[in-house]
Subunit: 207 residues, 2 copies
DNA sequence: ACATAATGATCCTGATTAGAAAATTGTCAA
DNA sequence: TTGACAATTTTCTAATCAGGATCATTATGT
């Protein structure tokens, strides 16, 4: 009956952590202080780890304990299994603010963990932009057209050309403005929505 | 005097859990399926437990993993507030499979809620692609170059031109292939990483 | 051909697990 | 107080496994 997904082993989890970070066994070994041979054996489920090694791993790699045990979230997971939604800018939900033109994609799909938004940027300077924006979660921005400058609370401004992206904690104040020499810029953004009600907060925040 | 926060051992934690519930070793043994003698030794720090036993304990006693490792709770929120990572395809971590060339962006940033990946698609048909891919979480795909066809488990194939996107539950079998008339296609994908164990499944599935 | 990465095969020391036996503790009646 | 007596806990013993080192092998990329 229930779709019992393969019970994730420690090896599976470890391997995914490693490849997600693009580490080789050697690198992971150096970071964690656990020999390559042991890591290899763990990833192949020929070995598991005991308390002290798990703790060591958690600390040295900055991994939460709960992440090493892929315990199923149980609740907090709606677990619908077959949703799909095509999104085009033409049929997007459009929201206009002083600095941005938002085009929310796939709005017919509710309860998404991520919110894809195509945004046209108009502001040309931090001054023109005004107050930095901040909200819950994280966001990834990818430049589709033009060139932009990212202003944040804790870093110097950084420029992004077409084809480049940036990932940041949305709780850090941030502002995207068009770079010099460009009239406008178009970016694709994806916001994590883990904490709910953000579609609304986003809209009201910038609204 | 220094802030000596007693380094709680597994034994300490276990003992406190047991006495808090007023269990005897025998009762705890019955509930957990771990012999009395072992529990005794653990409580006296003459022994620790390994992965499987810890998991067993966590499940049978309904204890959260984080509670067994007395790691400072800080309310499940590591909440770093000012992370930022610029990602370009040149400095991306590259992973090649039969059907895709993955370019993982921003891999220097760990513990992300989302994983941005630029992917070059090579397969030209579902047949050529092989088994549909499925993994935990959700994903959003945006076509940067070329045109693609999305094959899924529960829907008819759908075509996506440059500039269009699709959002889907990754647990539903899916495959992206290059549309007729195109040699290759480039897409930007973002995977929710809430549950993890996905990069690996992606890689091993195609690997 | 060369370097890097991943895996496998040994081998070895020490730690873990579990079952049975010993020691401890507590309770109650004479 | 003392002697059963049972419940609880600790120690003992043996088999298994974790954890590390080293060498050989196979890909993969330069």
């Amino acid at each position: 009956m229930a779709a019992r997904v393969a019970p994730p082993t420690l090896g599976t989890v470890m391997k995914s952590i490693r490849s997600r970070n693009g580490w080789t066994l050697k690198e992971m070994s150096a970071k964690s202080g656990i020999p390559v041979s042991t890591l290899s054996k763990v990833e192949h489920d020929r070995l598991t780890l005991s308390y002290d090694k798990l703790q060591q791993l958690s600390q040295r790699l900055s991994i939460r304990m709960a992440d090493l045990f892929a315990e199923e979230e149980s609740d907090s997971a709606p677990r619908v299994t077959g949703r799909r939604s095509v999104g085009t800018i033409e049929q997007a939900v459009r929201v206009t603010t002083d600095n941005y033109d938002y085009h929310y994609l796939c709005t017919d799909l509710r309860q998404k963990r991520m919110i894809p938004i195509i945004t046209r940027i108009r502001a040309h300077s931090a001054r023109e932009f005004g107050e930095l924006v901040r909200h819950q979660g994280e966001e990834f921005i990818y430049v589709l057209e033009g060139e932009i400058e990212i202003h944040t609370e804790f870093y110097d401004p950084v420029a992004l050309k077409t084809g480049q992206g940036i990932y940041l904690d949305s709780s850090m104040g941030h502002a995207y403005v068009v770079a010099e020499g460009f009239d406008e810029a178009l970016v694709l953004g994806v916001c994590s929505s883990a904490d709910e009600g953000l579609m609304d907060s986003l809209m009201s925040l910038h609204g």
